[in-house]
Symmetry: D2
Subunit: 374 residues, 4 copies
């Protein structure tokens, strides 16, 4: 190993010589273009770091062996948390750009055409990796319309692979949790699988078992206790009069074949809800943190989009963006729509009070803690 | 003067004994209710401070003598800046509430009905004072539907008085700035005042002079220079093909009788635009900071509403709020709509590049600086 | 249950009527005194909340049964994290006070004498509860010199009870971890217990066993593996030439009777180091988060003290504080000295690279994960 | 002008390919090294931007013609404010690095030797440009001991030129303000210039006039009013008994030849104090903002150093830093000592209550406002 020097290690010759203002090329004085370049480079550096973290958590979640007892689960939790911390700084960074007034921006704005933040392929690729589906994109194809083919290819590839959200679904489906009743139906719930007119009980049962998570502690640990029917009744009781039709949503989310635009199956939803309800047990603590970190990331992304939109509006008003976009309108629609983890957020609607939670059988409880040395 | 003690001075006996959790009254354990109470009390304390600042700036702006040379202008700028700083902390404070998970909230949520943050009259009163008009409220009367009469009265009173925004308009109208051409029309602009079919030139001119700001440095200082016609031409040239119809908006904003739902007259808009364009001159620096601080406040309010909405969604999903509101939907609509100072923000659309700005006559320039001692 | 109204629930009549500026009593205009009062009230509200959290974690940690498998451990972790989040906002809040210029403060400063933030008994009580010892206080008795007897009593009581830090020590001592070698000594370490000149092997062994944590997985699980001798050798190898005398500190921290001004015993230090080294195992994840949160709290408190000191300096320069303190000097000394959890922070000095960590015996590893359902 | 593309404009090929982890070269897995590289690159990018702003304000302040009425003064104020905003984000960024635990750092730490953040020449150069003198550096030559000659040369050059602080001094000396009494002495002040034993009145007067600022509004505007003697008396009255020897400092700061390690002359100090006292007048508003922004920058730098120190301590404890430094100790000493603008901060000690301020003569007041058009 040879000696390392800070300047070389960080390749500062590259980093600090990568700012070539267009205004300088045009012999026009525009002091703030340097800020404009540097802040975007800082953003792209951090986007690279976000990819580094996202790739690592995708890599871990892809392992079929990953379960609730895997040591790597905490690595996933830790890195998702880091992503949220980074996003907070990226939001804060907007404060810096807002010290550039609209008049200062006009000094060089026209020289940038048609470049635009809309061409940040790293950001779009990140959204795709995490799980923003093409179908959910505002304006569909529009979002790649100004990208280079090589970058479009990267995004299309990410969209064609399992997103992080899809991997979370698969992991949840593997999680042992409360089983469906053996008879194949939760009391009061309409036909479990609604896509097949020719159901008979036998078929139904086999389908149920296919769509059931493995029972926590083994089916025997649950005895006769029909958790989901009990829970559904408790949830129903908790609803105010005006909320009564939430029960249909409840069935749809947890016991039906879900429409294809959803990523989470009802099986995964059941495991996720169970984690939220019983996170008090040691075994469920990290899974809960994982889900919570996803909501945190979504919220930070949402705030980022919101502040970005306001900033753009403050900067250019109703003028056309340098990339030809109508600026604020696109950003607003995207901000309203692009919640990547909304299927998790939505589960909050189906919680009940802790003191009304069904008591778990002792044999199940035992499996939710650590081995005790005795 | 007698000795003052910190504990008494701050009335800590009152402050620290004002937390009576409903859960305690009901003998139910709900650790996080204390947080819920304290954070809302902290918010209301800060709202009181925001009112203290808002009342003081309204008081100053109400003085008819306040002009661009008034020493109090910097007090206004300073206090508006403080309001923005406070709002930033209030946004940050949401982080604390988000450490309460939905399950923790459910421990005491039902006991609070029908109380709700929607009953924070101080916040609504603040919006009204600053200039959010009743007509712009999402859901109109709805926003006061759960308030007590005494608080509704306060808000209605504020709405019936001159809001801060109205006072800013009046101050701008008093500001000396570039005059309209004496012939009463900016070249290429349609009839200046469109409400009167019987216009003849004489009437028109008297109306113009009524609606004109006093000319900076006196009319003589401007000589033959027709600033607004020159500026309009420059603006028109700066528009991209797809933006060409902005020129109609330009006329509407700066030279026409404005529709009644606007607070700013075209006269005020002209003064505000002039300030934005020529803020480089000493005299216009504080007025520029004032306008900029209003945009900053609006942006912080916007972020606050946005994060609040996301937080509520994360906490209760699609359940009905404790106040019976449909929660997120109302908050979303209010967040989208309630930009108090949007008429100022919109002026950004009408700026042009600094190097294409009309050069002001020397005699005018002189009046934009300080007296020099010689 | 009767209807609850936001205004009553939060006792806003109390909260919003607890501001009585001295300047108003003296008929002197001092706009910023309101800010001064309200920000201190907001601080005290949050201090109350910090006490609410601190009391709850102290209550949990006091249970002798609390071990690494207790469900409540995550409650402790969660609430410590909340305390850190609150402290971040309290630091941010200083930004607001800094919008008050020194001249604005002078408008009412003299009327407050001798009141001073130094009389905030809640803050000192919090430090005491968490574990700041009287002996470590800068200026010893000085810190209570301006408090009322009732508040001094509260602090003295907290100092006489087990602090949170002491309870963490006790919990760590109960944690099963790597055992000391049965022969009673770690190779190359000087007399294990240095207080007793008449040691013979028999005595020593009994003392060792008294001071040893219970072995993780039972002593049998460790076989012949002498973890601490192995680890000490690895640590020694990792030291640069100039760091060689760290090995003495190593012995002192982990294998000797510690001087009485330390809170953590060598037994607790060993458990804490083991947690830091092997946090990758599920069982150690929450204990690691707990320790990490304490460092986070200490760092936030440190930043708070630092910014507070700078702010006071900016406000009053080298003048005497309203409480008669020499202002900045006391604050600086306290900031330098009052790291409550420094004994934990110090353990970082004794880590080694992960890839050089001793491999734990399989039988031990098994006890570090969850029961697997098979 | 050819079309510009975001990717090329930002030179992302360079920026995103400048991360070459040492661990990868050594075939060792160290996930967090990427974070370590990227965060330091982000810091260096922002340091470049800080230099861009610092160079521009130095350039403006260097113009001998810059006075209180210069339009560029607001550019200086605006850019100093931006520097403070950037520094806030840089402080926040430490949160990200703190998501790297000490064990994660150890994965690659040894491979970096002897590189260290201590080799960030941009930061040291920035300190030098702003005004941190070589004599004030903790450890004197030590701070450049690990830099390359080319970077040492840059710093030495900056130290040999007028720093921003020096230019602020020169600007303040040019500012018209309250004159010294014509007789050459402020009542009760010891020999005005203490370096010359042979003073006679004539010499003294000529020296006074050399060291006096030009009188605001011309000497005639002040009539017989001896501002400084009046102010000194008022200040003296404001002192508490224990503060009485502040009056000596007062003389030393405002009326004596200052020791050479100070940058600010007594002449500059007088102008600065006058600005702080009478910032209410329009003319003094921007100068006040300028001084205030310098204090803000110093405070942010101080917080940055403080948090950096804590972070390093948390990361490596009492180990030796990769650069061979004793880590925390150096950082602590530097943090305690390196307040660049402390001479301005110190002036706060010499303010008095606004309502006791000497009333300025009408003729002087007139020159503190704008030309009024009439």
């Amino acid at each position: 190993m040879t000696d390392v020097h800070y300047h070389d290690y960080l390749q500062l010759d590259k980093i600090l010589n990568a700012q070539q203002p267009e205004s300088a090329k045009n012999n026009i004085s525009a002091h703030d273009e340097m800020l404009f370049i540097i802040i975007h480079q800082a953003y792209e550096l951090w986007f690279k770091q976000l990819h580094h973290e996202a790739d690592s958590v995708v890599g871990i979640m892809r392992k079929p062996s990953l379960n609730d007892n895997s040591p790597e689960l905490q690595t996933v939790v830790h890195r998702l948390n880091r992503m949220a911390v980074i996003l907070r700084v990226l939001i804060h960074q907007i404060d810096i750009l807002e010290t550039m007034t609209p008049m200062d921006f006009l000094d060089f704005r026209d020289m940038l055409r048609p470049a635009s933040g809309f061409q940040s392929w790293q950001f779009k690729l990140l959204e795709a990796k995490l799980g923003l589906k093409f179908e959910y994109r505002h304006g569909k194809e529009y979002y790649t319309s100004q990208l280079r083919q090589e970058h479009i290819d990267l995004i299309k590839k990410a969209e064609s692979e399992n997103s992080f959200l899809q991997l979370v679904n698969d992991w949840l489906e593997r999680m042992p949790t409360a089983p469906l009743p053996p008879k194949g139906g939760v009391a009061g719930t309409q036909p479990l699988l609604n896509q097949d007119a020719n159901n008979n009980t036998a078929t139904l049962q086999s389908k149920v078992s296919a769509m059931d998570n493995s029972p926590l502690g083994g089916r025997g640990a649950w005895g006769n206790f029909d958790f989901w029917t009990t829970y559904k009744a408790a949830y129903s009781n908790s609803l105010a009069e005006v909320e009564k039709n939430n029960i249909e949503a409840f069935d749809e989310v947890f016991f039906q074949q879900r429409e294809t635009h959803y990523t989470f199956s009802s099986k995964a939803n059941r495991a996720a809800l169970f984690i939220m309800l019983y996170r008090g047990y040691p075994l469920l603590q990290l899974p809960f943190q994982l889900l919570n970190n996803l909501l945190e990331i979504d919220e930070q992304l949402s705030t980022w989009r919101h502040r970005h939109m306001n900033m753009v509006h403050r900067m250019i008003g109703t003028r056309i963006g340098t990339g030809g976009s109508s600026g604020k309108d696109y950003l607003k629609a995207a901000a309203d729509k692009h919640y990547i983890f909304k299927e998790i957020a939505q589960l909050t609607s189906f919680l009940i009070e802790r003191r009304k939670l069904p008591q778990l059988p002792k044999a199940v409880e035992r499996t939710l803690g650590f081995v005790t040395a005795d």
